[in-house]
């Protein structure tokens, strides 16, 4: 049986919602980072899905996804570096301790 586009999109939306929810509610920065990755992955998934359903012959969305994954890896590395530095300075990875950058 042929699966409609919804079968693909719904998991992506669920993943996105989980990511946002996790990002807003989790206090641990590592957990927030994981949530962030979830959001990114759902976006990557969308690229692939729409490529598959709207432009079946071409590979643009797939290649774009590969690039996005590479960039996300780099981003994660930076984020981890920041988190490690914060840990060295503060002693934990609790986001509620990091709120000095304000008015």
């Amino acid at each position: 049986m042929d699966l409609s586009i919804l079968w693909y999109l719904v998991p992506s939306v669920i993943m996105f919602a989980c990511g946002v929810f996790g990002f807003i509610t989790r206090k641990n920065m590592i957990a927030m980072l994981i949530s962030l990755e979830l959001i990114l992955n759902s976006a990557d998934l969308n690229f692939v899905i729409f490529n598959r359903f709207l432009f079946p012959g071409s590979m643009d969305g797939m290649i774009f996804t590969l690039f996005a994954i590479a960039i996300a890896a780099a981003e994660t590395a930076i984020a981890i570096a920041i988190i490690i530095n914060i840990y060295r300075a503060v002693g934990n990875t609790d986001i509620s301790g990091v709120n000095k950058l304000k008015f």
């Binding site: 946002v20 807003i24 509620s96 990091v98």
Partner: protein
């Protein structure tokens, strides 16, 4: 004549200014001084070549009339097709005469300063400024149009400002330089308005076009009147206002006595011989137009006559020798102004009185006065150099110690007093003859001023060189100055002895036709008698220490104090500027500024401030809150978009 020499006359001082101004600090003093002197010497030689060849080469005279030669005239700014500002070099008799006067005095001052300023800081800067001044003044006299003259007019003002404030560590020098600049600038505002009015009606700035056909100027101004006087009269009087500022006519004279804070050679060059006669030169330049501008000549005469008398009276009660000379300069310039004011543009007819005599005499006096007044100032500089004070009370009996200074100063005094055969006699005689011919009152009035001149000059002379020796001489014996300072004194004294015999009328007259000077015997006899009587009075009063001056002073103490305080002109200005302008007008404007304009701006700032402090809680520093808000915003936007499009 090619244009190379005339351009060099202007280019050399400018180049010296740049060279000494930019590179002077790196040079030793001697090199700097010698360079300055050599530069000015070359300029002087060139100026003499140009001026003398203009006067004596027949190619510049057509049918007995000296031509106005436009050596070059370059377009500089063009506003419209007709309104074009040129820069150029106009050679005519007064210009040639001024070229000689300026370069001679400037050269003497350059030489003299080498000795006088030897131990001062900023020697190089001083020479650079002197070159700047010489350049500006030469540019002023060769101007082909009134706008070029205005530009250089301001430049001489700037160099005067720089040189008055040369000793910038002295507060008095700083305030004197500011005063000079502000007062003359204020007067130049009138000058500028006058130029604009005149050029608005005539569509030209060019001197030759305006002066060769003044009837045309009058016709172009037409019957336009403003507040009862014709527009042309207004324009010419306003232009004369600029001259009043520069030439220190009442009531704009207040800056000149204070300008004496500058180094003495500067006073000799700028504030006695050249820059302050720029006003006279300006009137002489525009003379034919002044003649037809009804009433403007009377204005000049009246202003000059009042100033001459006022300055002469004040000079009798000054203690500072440079101040005496400053007021004497004001008085003598006013003399020239009156002489110009009584002149008319009637042609020379044999057997009749020559209306242009006043013009010729005024220029003649400008020439002789430049020489002997520079001599007197340089002499005063030598005295100050020797005694280290400006007050005559610190001097007295100096004739034995400083013979060269004494004799040259005496020659200068005799020349300014108008004693035969010194130069002042001849020029003053011509001026007085012209005044008597115009109206007996002007003649009598100015003869009285001439008498006062003789009196205060010899009062000064006796108080410096006779009277009573200052006991301090035993500790510190004054002596004559080094040769760099004595040589200019001797040269200028020699010039003052013989300059009167120059047949000046053959060279400089208003219509550039030769006029043969002859001495008016009755006038000459009267003025000579008055001068001799005044000198005799001064001799009786001041030759030896005696209580007579003290008693005279105590006879009219109020008058003496008033004259000593210069009839309170400075206080009047102080009152007007500080009490009325600053105290009432400026204070109310400042109140408006602070309480209305500033308050509005403060209000805006306050509103912005309150608004921002009300909403700044949003920026909590909590990243998750930002994301939540962002998410809500995004959802809302999506919702709105959905509602709009579906």
């Amino acid at each position: 004549m090619g244009s190379t020499l005339p351009i060099l006359i202007l280019a050399i001082p400018l180049f010296m200014f740049l060279l000494l101004g930019l590179g002077g600090v790196k040079m030793p003093r001697k090199v700097c001084g010698v360079l300055g002197i050599l530069g000015m010497g070359t300029t002087m030689t060139l100026a003499y070549i140009v001026a003398l060849s203009y006067f004596f080469c027949p190619e510049f005279t057509v049918d007995g009339v000296r031509q106005q030669v436009m050596v070059f005239d370059q377009t500089w700014l063009s506003f419209t097709d007709t309104l074009v500002v040129n820069l150029g070099f106009l050679l005519d008799p007064i210009c040639a005469m001024m070229l000689m006067v300026i370069t001679t005095i400037s050269f003497m001052v350059h030489l003299y300063s080498w000795g006088y300023m030897e131990h001062e800081d900023g020697f190089q800067r001083y020479y650079a400024f002197l070159s700047l001044f010489s350049f500006s003044m030469l540019g002023l006299v060769v101007a082909t149009n009134i706008f070029q003259m205005y530009i250089f007019w301001e430049l001489v003002g700037v160099s005067s400002y720089l040189l008055i404030g040369f000793f910038y560590k002295l507060p008095s020098a700083v305030s004197a330089s500011k005063k000079a600049f502000i007062v003359t600038r204020f007067a130049d505002l009138g000058f500028l308005i006058g130029i604009l009015i005149l050029s608005f009606y005539t569509d030209t700035f060019n001197f030759v076009e305006m002066t060769s056909n003044p009837g045309q100027v009058l016709a172009e101004c037409g019957g336009a009147t403003f507040m009862g006087a014709s527009v042309l009269t207004w324009a010419m009087v306003l232009i004369f206002t600029g001259g009043m500022g520069k030439s220190a006519m009442m009531p704009l004279h207040i800056w000149l006595p204070d300008a004496m804070e500058g180094p003495t050679p500067v006073s000799a060059l700028i504030h006695a011989a050249t820059m302050v006669v720029a006003g006279v030169y300006l009137v002489a330049r525009m003379f034919p137009v002044y003649c037809i501008a009804e009433g403007s000549m009377t204005f000049i005469t009246v202003v000059g006559a009042i100033t001459a008398f006022y300055a002469a009276v004040v000079a009798c009660a000054q203690i500072d020798i440079k101040r005496v000379l400053a007021f004497s300069t004001i008085s003598q310039i006013a003399f020239m102004m009156v002489s110009l004011g009584v002149a008319t543009d009637s042609p020379y007819i044999k057997g009749e009185f020559y209306g242009g005599l006043g013009y010729m005499a005024s220029m003649f006096h400008l020439f002789t006065h430049a020489m002997f007044k520079a001599l007197l100032f340089l002499g005063a500089g030598a005295l100050i150099h020797a005694v280290h004070s400006n007050d005559y009370t610190k001097m007295g009996g100096l004739r034995k110690y400083m013979p060269i200074t004494h004799w040259t100063f005496l020659i200068g005094c005799l020349a300014i007093a108008g004693i035969w055969p010194f130069s002042g006699f001849f020029s003053k005689d011509e001026m007085l003859a012209a005044m008597f011919e115009s109206h007996w009152f002007w003649g009598a009035w100015m003869t009285m001023v001439a008498g006062l001149t003789a009196f205060y000059m010899f009062r000064l002379y006796y108080l410096i060189f006779w009277w009573e020796e200052n006991p301090e001489y035993k500790h510190h014996t004054p002596h004559d100055s080094p040769w760099q300072m004595s040589l200019p004194l001797i040269i200028l004294a020699a010039v003052s002895c013989v300059a009167g015999f120059i047949p000046f009328g053959e060279f400089v007259t208003w219509n550039r036709m030769p006029y043969h000077i002859h001495i008016e015997l009755p006038v000459a006899a009267t003025s000579l008698t008055v001068a001799v009587l005044a000198i005799a009075l001064a001799t009786v009063m001041y030759r030896k220490k005696n209580p007579l001056p003290e008693r005279m002073r105590n006879l009219f103490p109020a008058l003496w104090t008033a004259a000593h305080r210069r009839f309170y002109w400075d206080e009047i200005y102080q009152f007007i500027t500080h009490k009325i302008i600053f105290g009432i007008i400026c204070k109310s404007i400042a109140w408006f500024d602070r309480h209305v304009i500033d308050a509005t701006m403060d209000g805006f700032a306050k509103i912005t401030n309150c608004a921002s402090s009300a909403i700044k809680g949003f920026q909590s520093g909590n990243v998750q809150a930002y994301v939540a808000w962002y998410f809500i915003g995004a959802v809302l936007l999506a919702g709105i978009t959905w509602l709009c499009f579906i």
